[in-house]
């Protein structure tokens, strides 16, 4: 028998077997492996086997059977090998996925990982995915995020981009989160807005999947009785998978995945894989959501705690101030009677003394010092009075005009005029007239005592929303630093008492703050000083 095939040669030369490919040169000298790997598929070997059978070779039919079986086994082995490789890849992917999901506390990160995993080629390789989340009250299922291309051109561009990079799932998710999360939301905004389903509606395919806690594969969507025409038109795809996201008994949302571009059929394998993946995603979403809520609660508590501390500090401060008030009030009253007697008799003596008597100067000094001490007492007692405000509705424009009129001698002393810019429709305000009047007068006196002569004080009233603003603007004003410092705590200055800025301003601030209003003093940008009282309009109690 003339044998053309090389199967009977122990060693062969290159070119003897056309099926040996580059890199398989060791088969030239390995007879056994060459027979097993190459000959069973070789047409020349099959042909010679047929020849041997015709020639009556008794082993030829057996060899034929064994060869066919060998080919069959090899095909099955390759198929199983492929399946094993695919499962290995899937397990690695799920491992990577679960590692990321288990360690993430950030909702956006979880979403990025989940959506990337569904749509990435390295993941489940679906073309598009939509996430719908149940709202807080569990009333609605609402479109939250969409991922994927909207056209073939875009898909082609994305695939090219992915091909050029070799990112891991985690890296891809991070890239998605940083660069695409927002833009994808915007891109699918029109679809997401229409994907809103009441959870009560159990006829809808999405809520049905959620209530039945099982994935639903929809095919022939436009003719499917389970899917409304409207919903099919929103997705505009013939086949899609609805995957519920449930953690324990809590309904988190629904994932919709489809192959909008490639139209590849969604396999049973796809469904199983995505279902396996849905559970950790749902769990991670719940955890991230709870973590986010926890953060919000912690922030709220921190804020409340800070406010509480501030309030406590304020209470302590007010208690101290009230104590200071009581003490100063008590002292002031004790001082007033003897002071009155000293000053009173000094005045009496001064009247009866001769014009050229040298004692006249001493008496004048006593009178002057007594007067100054009495002014201090007035300041201190005004502070004490501020602890017990009496409120009524008053016209603040009138108050401003009266205050300025009463202080005309002081205006004249520094050659200063007063100009009004008063709001015509100013509403009446619930205030303690005496207190606010005292504040306005103190600001006017402070301004007049801390300015260069000439010019004018501009007195304004304005209002908007629920605030009335009284402003004194003095272009020639300049408040010294030591007066600024006394704004913090009354009576802390070592300066001479009785100066309006030293004692009066802190009292004004206390009076205003106690009634929920405020005092601001600022250096104007164009020069000069601004004194601003803000009063909140409030209903009569």
């Amino acid at each position: 028998m003339n044998l053309q095939c090389c199967w009977h040669n122990v060693t062969i030369s290159p070119g003897d077997c056309p099926y040996i490919e580059p890199g398989e040169e060791d088969l030239l000298v390995s007879h056994e492996r060459r027979v097993i790997e190459k000959c069973s598929n070789c047409p020349r070997f099959i042909s010679e086997l047929e020849g041997m059978k015709s020639a009556g070779e008794p082993l030829a039919p057996i060899l034929k059977i064994l060869t066919v079986e060998l080919v069959d086994l090899r095909v099955r082995l390759e198929s199983m090998d492929g399946f094993l490789n695919s499962k290995t890849r899937e397990i690695r992917f799920l491992h990577e996925l679960s590692t990321v999901l288990q360690t993430s506390m950030d909702l956006d990160e979880v979403l990025s990982v989940a959506m990337t995993a569904i749509t990435a080629g390295k993941g489940f390789g679906m073309n598009r995915a939509f996430l719908l989340m149940c709202d807080k009250d569990q009333n609605y299922l609402r479109g939250y995020l969409g991922v994927g291309p909207r056209s073939y051109e875009e898909a082609w561009h994305i695939w090219q981009e992915v091909e050029q990079t070799n990112l891991t799932l985690k890296e891809m998710a991070q890239f998605f989160r940083e660069n695409k999360l927002f833009s994808e939301k915007v891109k699918f905004q029109d679809i997401l807005e229409r994907l809103s389903v009441p959870l009560e509606d159990q006829t809808h395919i999405l809520t049905r999947s959620l209530h039945e806690k099982r994935p639903i594969l929809v095919v022939e969507a436009f003719n499917n009785p389970l899917v409304s025409r409207e919903f099919a038109e929103i997705l505009n795809v013939d086949s899609f998978l609805v995957m519920p996201l449930i953690s324990g008994n809590r309904k988190i949302g629904v994932l919709i995945a489809d192959n909008f571009i490639t139209q590849r059929a969604i396999t049973h394998q796809d469904i199983q894989s995505i279902e396996t993946f849905a559970f950790p995603v749902a769990f991670a979403l719940v955890r991230a959501s709870l973590y986010e809520q926890l953060h919000e609660e912690v922030d709220k508590l921190t804020l409340a705690n800070r406010k509480l501390q501030e309030q406590q500090e304020l209470i302590v401060k007010m208690e101290k101030m009230a104590l200071v008030g009581r003490i100063t009030s008590s002292i002031a009253h004790s001082i007033r009677n003897p002071l009155m007697v000293i000053g009173g008799f000094a005045r009496s003596l001064l009247k009866s003394i001769e014009v050229d008597d040298p004692k006249k100067e001493y008496l004048s000094s006593i009178i002057q010092e007594a007067r100054q001490l009495e002014d201090v007492l007035v300041e201190i007692l005004n502070y004490s009075d501020s602890l017990y405000p009496v409120k009524d509705q008053w016209d603040l424009n009138q108050l401003l005009e009266d205050s300025c009129r009463d202080l005309q001698p002081k205006f004249a002393a520094v050659d200063c005029s007063c100009r009004f810019e008063l709001a015509e429709d100013l509403p009446t305000v619930l205030i303690d007239y005496k207190q606010i009047s005292y504040c306005v007068r103190t600001l006017l006196v402070t301004a007049l005592e801390n300015r260069s002569p000439g010019g004018e004080l501009l007195v304004c009233s304005r209002w908007w929303d629920h605030v009335v603003m009284l402003e004194i603007y003095d272009q020639n004003g300049s408040l010294p630093e030591d007066v600024w410092e006394t704004m913090a705590t009354p009576f802390s200055s070592t300066q001479e008492l009785g100066v309006a800025g030293v004692v009066g301003l802190p009292i004004c601030r206390t009076i205003l703050e106690k009634s929920g209003n405020s005092l601001e003093i600022e250096r104007s940008q164009g020069g000069g000083m601004r004194y601003i009282i803000r009063l909140h309009l409030q209903k009569e109690e």
């Binding site: 009155m340 007697v341 009173g344 000094a346 005045r347 009247k351 007594a370 009495e374 007035v378 007692l381």
Partner: protein, 121 residues
């Protein structure tokens, strides 16, 4: 010549008022307590009472109520080291209220005003 009764628990203040108001032409009688004042009111005639609110262990406002009740035609000017009593309901019964000061001009003006008002009644 108007006759004034000064009621104050401090002798120095009584002395000061006597001298200053005496120079103004008033006939000034003083009392150091509410009891003494009531006694003088029963025995003598006055045109105006100058009354302190804090009288050691007594209240000038209680005395004011008694005067208004018994002698409603007799004007009273309260003179106190405290300004807060201006808002006290009882103090509204008085015809005038002056915060004590070494400068007695405000007090003198108030007395004049109240006496003039009394004459015009």
């Amino acid at each position: 010549m108007a006759r004034l009764l000064v009621v104050d628990d401090e002798s120095s203040i009584r002395l000061l008022y006597s001298q200053e108001l005496g120079e103004e032409g008033y006939d000034v009688v003083t009392a150091g307590s509410a009891v003494e004042a009531v006694e003088k009111l029963q025995n003598e005639q006055f045109d105006l009472i100058l009354l302190d609110i804090k009288l050691k262990n007594e209240s000038g406002l209680d005395l004011l109520q008694k005067i208004v009740k018994d002698r409603h035609d007799l004007p009273v000017v309260l003179c106190s080291a405290f300004s807060c009593y201006k808002d006290d309901f009882s103090a509204w019964l008085a015809d005038g209220y002056v915060v004590k000061s070494s400068d007695l001009q405000e007090l003198k003006d108030e007395i004049k005003k109240v006496l003039a008002k009394k004459q015009n009644r």
